[in-house]
Amino acid sequence: MKVTDKDVAYVAELANLELTEEERAGMLRDLNSILEYIDRLNELDTSDVPPMAQVSDRYGVDVSKQGSARFAYASREDILEGLRKSLPHEEALANAPDADEDFFRVPKVIER
């Protein structure tokens, strides 16, 4: 077993999940079974392999440049009006479970 009860509780806290006792037991079983399968990646020697975070640094970019300069096409000026206006207050608040005219309302934040 790679993952323990304690790990499940810790990771749930990191993920802002609580989980019932039953869910935690299921999670322990599933995570261990999935991670056991995932362990086959260790059969590969990747010490000299660069990590790949995305595929989009290969096409449509300026290949003569490095780093963010490659993606010059993707940047644009900040525009207040034009491409997309900011949402009006009432629209931005319309999907909130709790709000007044100006703000999202949440339970008090003083104690964790």
């Binding site: 993952v3 499940v8 990771v11 749930a12 990191l14 993920a15 802002n16 999940l17 609580e18 989980l19 019932t20 869910e23 299921g26 999670m27 599933d30 995570l31 999935i34 991670l35 399968y37 995932i38 362990d39 086959r40 990646l41 260790n42 059969e43 590969l44 990747t46 392999v49 660069p50 990590p51 790949m52 975070a53 995305q54 595929v55 989009s56 290969r58 096409y59 449509g60 970019v61 096409y73 993707a74 940047s75 644009r76 491409l83 997309r84 949402l87 629209e91 931005a92 319309a94 999907n95 909130a96 479970p97 709790d98 999202f104 949440v106 339970p107 008090k108 934040v109 104690e111 964790r112």
Partner: protein, 476 residues
């Protein structure tokens, strides 16, 4: 009107020539949905008002003798992970049960600008996480070919609606196979283009480096028309590529004679159903008969694709789904006293089992002490998987494989075994990881009359070639 044979061109031409109206087409589809969808479950929300307004606009154009745009009057469905202004968008999750987006997804806006009539939002696995559509928080979708079986996932509603003639085409999304696998299970065409080919703006994020929007259609030509409509740079998505969009439709009829098609033994190994093997081998013979040269290629890292995928996709998902906190949108638990209790209980109540499982796995893979062993390791293997394809594509123009190792399985068959479910994506996740395009076309049936899919994978930004091969196969 016979909806069965209704393609994009047939629908548009009928409206243009005033043989029918966009309104009548929309009504005919709504009537069929009412009759059929009770047992299939493909739609989550109907957008009648929006559909009828658009239909009216198209009909007025036709009446004035104006040339209709390419999708003029064509009834379509949109997977419920794409934002639609004013129309409820749930991502198949209870946590977004009442979410009404204030803006449109770029792909949806482009479909409507091209004249499409949006009938409604298609059921899917919650946050597109699943391979059977059983993870929808609302109800499962059933396969129109056999109601005891799943339609595949996560774009199960999008595939089933096309298969059951409840929409001419639909948009789905593909992160690990979610367009191609359901297309294969339901006997329709499903196209995932190159990463960055289609803007993701307004697509509810699952795994940002893997998410794609694409069509499910009755024919390859229809898939090509939709891709031509939705592809291209969008300033609202910085990952949408600045690469010109060719005319995919015009390229369809170019001959495939002399084309080199790769076949990789890694896609014909353990776990592949005998009937699927036979159907795919027969399809490959047919392509050979059309003058294609079949070339053996090797994609040696294929057995590592599923573990790589489930680390990268879940890590990205755990980050993307942190936004559902019960504050700005999304449901909030009742009776909570503190902020952290509100976060935890809202998420506990709002997310389903598979979503929680993936958030947990992804959070674990990114957590201190495990990042190098899991997430970084997976990113490195992703490089190896991509290099496999680079190498193979030096020798061939496209690669042909089965889309899924089996035909549609039964509801409940894999729902208690997450790992068994993950393996349903074994032949599709590789293309998402490498960012290359792939299409699934129907290639026969099992003895039980269940559809089988042939997958054709192509080079980055070379959708034209896979569409051409798929079209040649379909027409032969």
């Amino acid at each position: 009107m016979d909806l069965k044979s209704l393609t994009i061109d047939a629908a548009r031409t009928a409206v243009q020539e005033r043989k029918t109206t966009a309104l009548a087409l929309a009504e005919a589809h709504f009537a069929r949905i009412k009759r059929e969808d009770g047992q299939i479950g493909a739609f989550l929300t109907l957008s009648k008002e929006r559909a009828l307004e658009q239909a009216d606009r198209i009909d007025r154009m036709a009446a004035e003798g104006k040339t209709l745009p390419p999708l003029g009057g064509v009834p379509v469905g949109i997977k419920d992970v794409m934002s639609t202004r004013g129309v409820r968008t749930t991502a198949g999750s209870k946590i977004l049960e009442n979410y009404i987006p204030p803006y449109d997804c770029t792909a949806v806006a482009r479909m409507e600008a091209a004249g499409a009539v949006v009938l409604g939002k298609m059921n899917c696995d919650e946050f597109a996480m699943g391979s059977s559509n059983e993870n929808s928080a609302y109800h499962p979708v059933r396969n129109p070919r056999d109601l005891s079986r799943v339609p595949g996932g996560s774009s199960g509603g999008s595939a089933a609606a096309v298969a059951a003639d409840m929409a001419v085409v639909t948009l789905g999304s593909d992160t690990g196979g979610s367009i191609r696998q359901p297309a294969s299970f339901c006997g329709v065409v499903g196209l995932m283009s190159t990463y960055g080919r289609v803007s993701r703006y307004g697509l509810i994020a699952f795994a940002s480096s893997l998410d794609h929007i694409g069509p499910l259609a009755k024919t390859v030509k229809d898939a090509a028309i939709v891709l031509r409509t939705i592809a291209g740079r969008d300033p609202m998505d910085s990952t949408s590529a600045d690469v010109p969009v060719p005319d995919y439709v015009a390229a369809l009829d170019r001959p495939v004679r002399g084309m080199k098609l790769g076949v990789a033994k890694e896609y014909f190994g353990e776990g592949l159903d005998d009937e699927v093997t036979l159907a795919v081998e027969t399809a490959i013979d047919k392509l050979k008969g059309l003058g294609c040269e079949i070339v053996p290629v090797s994609l040696p890292h294929t057995p590592y694709a599923i573990p790589t995928y489930y680390l990268i996709a879940t890590a990205e998902a755990s980050s993307n789904l942190a936004r559902y906190d019960g504050v700005r949108y999304s449901r909030r638990a009742r009776g909570v006293k503190t902020l952290s209790e509100m976060y935890r209980r809202s998420r506990d109540e709002g997310f389903g089992a598979e979503v929680k499982r993936r958030i947990m796995l992804g959070t674990y893979a990114l957590s201190a002490g495990y990042y190098d062993a899991y997430y970084l390791k997976a990113q490195k293997v992703r490089t190896l998987l991509t290099q496999d394809f680079d190498e193979a594509f030096r020798k061939v123009d496209a690669i042909v494989t089965p889309t899924s190792p089996t035909a549609a399985f039964r509801l409940g068959e894999k729902s208690n075994d997450p790992l068994a479910m993950y393996l349903a994506d074994i032949y599709t996740v590789t293309a998402d990881l490498a960012g290359i395009p792939g299409i699934s076309v129907p290639c026969g049936e099992t003895k039980e009359k269940l559809p089988i899919g042939l997958q054709i994978l192509g080079k980055h930004f070379d959708e034209a070639t896979i569409l051409r091969v798929a079209h040649a196969y379909e027409q032969a």
